[in-house]
Amino acid sequence: MNSSNGSLTVVGSGIKFLSHLSTETEAYIKQSDKVVYSLNEPAMEAWIRKNNKNSESLNFLENQHNFRIDTYKAITNYIVNEVKKSQHVCAVFYGHPTVFAKSALDAALTLDEEGYSTKILPGISSEDCLFADLKIDPGSHGCQSYEATDLLIRRKKIDPSSHAILWQIGIIGAVQGLEEHNNKIGLELLSNYLAKFYDNNHPIIIYEAALYPHLQPVIIRCHLSELKTAKLSSLSTLYITPAFQAPISAAILKKLGITKLK
């Protein structure tokens, strides 16, 4: 174990400025030798810089590569190399640090293989915010969660009896920079694909979590037929309500010895 020579703790700062920071995450940010971060808004950056003088944004790596996959690899390599300088490094990512955050997870896994001490602390993700703001329990019907582009290109099957959450519907097919991305084709493909599983008048919600305390989330209720023309941002997430409750198998109930469900 190389723990005396450096370590990595990956933490999530949540979505909403300061409000979502856990006590243990705060301790690691304040006490680590070095903090590197990739955040979703500037107030959290200012807070980190105030609370750890040896902190550094990872955003400078964003502009060095044309493809996002290369940026993520560069972030992973940068974090790994910082740990190898024999220091205890805290890597802060917004939301939950390993939900849609390949670079943080890869850094921890790479260092694990090399015998360094690593730890990942959970953070509040956009999905957690969505469950709270929309007042839904993913356990009630089961829940599917897909990145929108991944859903389309892999032709994933959606179970309409479960909750469905589709991420990054505002940047479908964007593998390079997001600034000039045209989402029209992707959104049309997504709408057509979802129509294979749901009626056109099925209710949907376009959602964005609030980034600052006491602000309201964006919650736009509409129908699937309206998705093609919906005004979206790069933060937009699509939530689709279950279309029906899946039937219960009496045979399985009997085998389990269950005589009453409620």
């Binding site: 909403k16 400025f17 300061l18 409000s19 990739s38 955040l39 979703n40 808004e41 500037p42 107030a43 200012a46 807070w47 955003n59 964003e62 996002r68 996959i69 993520y72 990512f93 849609f100 955050a101 390949k102 670079s103 990145e147 582009t149 991944d150 290109i153 991420w167 990054q168 940047i171 964007a174 593998v175 997001l178 964005e208 609030a210 980034l211 600052y212 305390p213 006491h214 602000l215 309201q216 989330p217 964006v218 941002s233 790069s234 933060l235």
Partner: protein, 61 residues
Amino acid sequence: MDAISLFEQLANITHHQVSDELIDKLPIELKHAFITSNSQLIREKIAGQHIFPDSRAVIQG
């Protein structure tokens, strides 16, 4: 009080305690964004030219 300090203060109170007096301390452009719950506008106003990432998922081959 600067905007970040004020949001730090807002993070430490409940929604019942948010007062007009507190919101009035925000710069006018942030005050409007706060009242209309426009998170992205607040972020833009605080960040200036600096762009923050909104996404990070990668399609893996």
